[in-house]
Symmetry: C2
């Protein structure tokens, strides 16, 4: 299996990307080749500096451009033809690799994947899904911001794709799918959410557990949490922001004096566990679901561990034929229902 | 001044309502009368049980019905004519009191206030605003769920009303108003949010600081955070849920063993401060903004302290003539602009 890696994307490129790549290969020497796409000279210098041997498990594809976070996404994809992201996506589209992982600009990756890799039949634009740490278990939130305006069948498709992902990649036999809404009753929400509720409920292939109120989302009661991209972006970013604010407040308590610092020593390990539980790096990247081949977006601030985990995710997508499963499941939605033929 | 109080509304009625009322009067014996609306026998029994003297600062308005949390809001307002909520709202509409406070059903209070108390000119439905504890300072979030579907001029009006509230009731000279959005640039978001951004930006009477990303909301950088009711409901409830989940995780760390329990003793006071900072009871109720007279919704689980604070909020609304200020500010929005006359 060959995973294509954007070696120039993200805040810590290329050092942490190269380091994460080496860790991924160390875990999987039997069947993993990584194509590092980026400036060859810089990649080799980074590897040398970190004493990483770029052996037969690595190939380097030299490129001369990099898409920056501040670049306008559509323009960057159109004009930076020799960027690590565009070249990597083109390799994926041409079958020169099985999946693509990038920690670069989310917007550019979304546009590039849509235009170059294309989408599964029935999907107009891929959705951005993210695994978020929850109280009981991590959950998949989608869409996290790729589609700020949605129609009800799109929310239905998010449920179908998210369920396939949690089953194939996260190994959950029957994923619980829930719809974000401002109340448990199916009469709640905007017309969009009322219609989406009915579509999800009527789907015999989904285990739809109904509406989930935002207060219950962090607990991790559902495996897949469906919403439009504007709402998903609010949930994703508010969760990050609030966890930071709250843990910051707690930390301040410990820094107040000598005795509280002493207290910290007694609970230090426990707090590390809480932080680890809330650490999105543990779960790797955010899959773009609905692309014709697997594309994984790693967090822009990813360090080596997150890159390694994103590569593992990409590998699981390929091994489980996630795209094939989703294609079949979405095709079933497009079939006219028996009663409609009667 | 006379504040009308729904003595039967909320999870802890009437005991905590009566107790909170007594605390409010104790703080303000010079100029405060409270009209306790509800079953007189039950109210008197509750006061007697708690050794509260219902002196000349209290009047009791006997009613025979109660609107329950499970009642369908519009139907309850229409059919339960002798409920504490409907009678209280009617007293307010008729000028038999200066403001109304209830911890009962949010939906019923919203419908009842709209129908009985009516709205300020230019406001179709009142918005539900909530003071949420933030890292740096508390902020007013609106709409929190009363208007799940909004047009851009409504979001503009939320900014205007919220700014007036933070100025008059919370004493902030020039409140910073921000618009929730999935990016800082004004080109971000759905068409609704793009249009609202332009309206808020063009208003010379607002101190609009631009879009606020959800990750920055909990820090408390803005005084007024504007969004549609669906999004506001997500922010409000997710904040509650996540704070509970996270502080629960932290608490578990302390309960693990003898030494961690010892550690807890050392930081106990500090944690109480954090909990207090995150405690919405500190800030009292959620004003329904846009009603023709002040209506305050206290949290359904309010205890005496929250009721006392909600009464104080109602008093500040009356003393500062909040409704008059909002009426003028909203009338200014309706005026054609000079350049449009040219």
């Amino acid at each position: 299996m060959k995973i294509i890696l954007d070696a120039m994307g993200g805040d810590n490129a290329p050092d942490e990307i190269v380091k994460g790549a080496a860790q991924a290969v160390a875990e999987n020497r039997d069947n993993l080749t990584l194509a590092l796409v980026g400036n060859e000279e810089i990649i080799r210098a980074s590897a040398a500096k970190q004493n990483i041997a770029l052996d037969e498990h690595f190939e380097i594809v030299n490129t001369t451009q990099t898409i920056e976070m501040c670049d306008e996404p559509a323009k960057a994809i159109r004009t930076k033809k020799d960027s690590s992201m565009v070249v990597g996506l083109r390799m994926l589209a041409e079958g020169k690799g099985d999946a693509f992982v990038s920690a670069g600009s989310t917007g550019a990756l979304h546009v590039g994947a849509s235009l170059i890799v294309r989408t599964i039949k029935g999907v107009k634009r891929p959705a951005l899904a993210t695994i978020i740490p929850g109280g009981k278990k991590p959950y998949l939130l989608m869409d996290c911001g790729a589609n700020v305006e949605c129609r009800a069948p799109m929310l239905h498709a998010f449920g179908v794709m998210g369920s396939a992902y949690m089953n194939k990649v996260m190994g959950i036999a029957v994923p619980d799918v829930a719809l974000v809404n401002n109340g448990a009753e199916e009469s709640k929400g905007t017309p969009l959410y009322k219609e989406a509720h009915q579509l999800l409920k009527a789907d015999p292939n989904l285990h739809f557990i109904g509406n989930i109120e935002p207060r219950d989302v962090p607990d991790g009661n559902a495996d897949v949490v469906v919403c439009d991209g504007f709402t998903g972006n609010v949930i994703l970013k508010l969760t990050e922001g609030l966890a930071k604010t709250l843990l910051g407040m707690v930390k301040e308590v410990f820094l107040k004096g000598l005795t509280t610092k002493l207290a910290y020593l007694l609970v230090k390990d426990g707090f590390k566990d809480v932080k680890k539980k809330m650490d999105s790096e543990e779960y790797g990247g955010a899959p773009l679901l609905g692309t014709a081949r697997p594309v994984i977006k790693a967090h822009g601030s990813s360090k080596a561990k997150a890159i390694k985990n994103a590569i593992r995710q990409a590998r699981l997508c390929v091994e489980s034929d996630l795209v094939g499963t989703m294609t079949e499941a979405l095709a079933a939605l497009e079939q006219p229902k028996p009663e409609e033929n009667a």
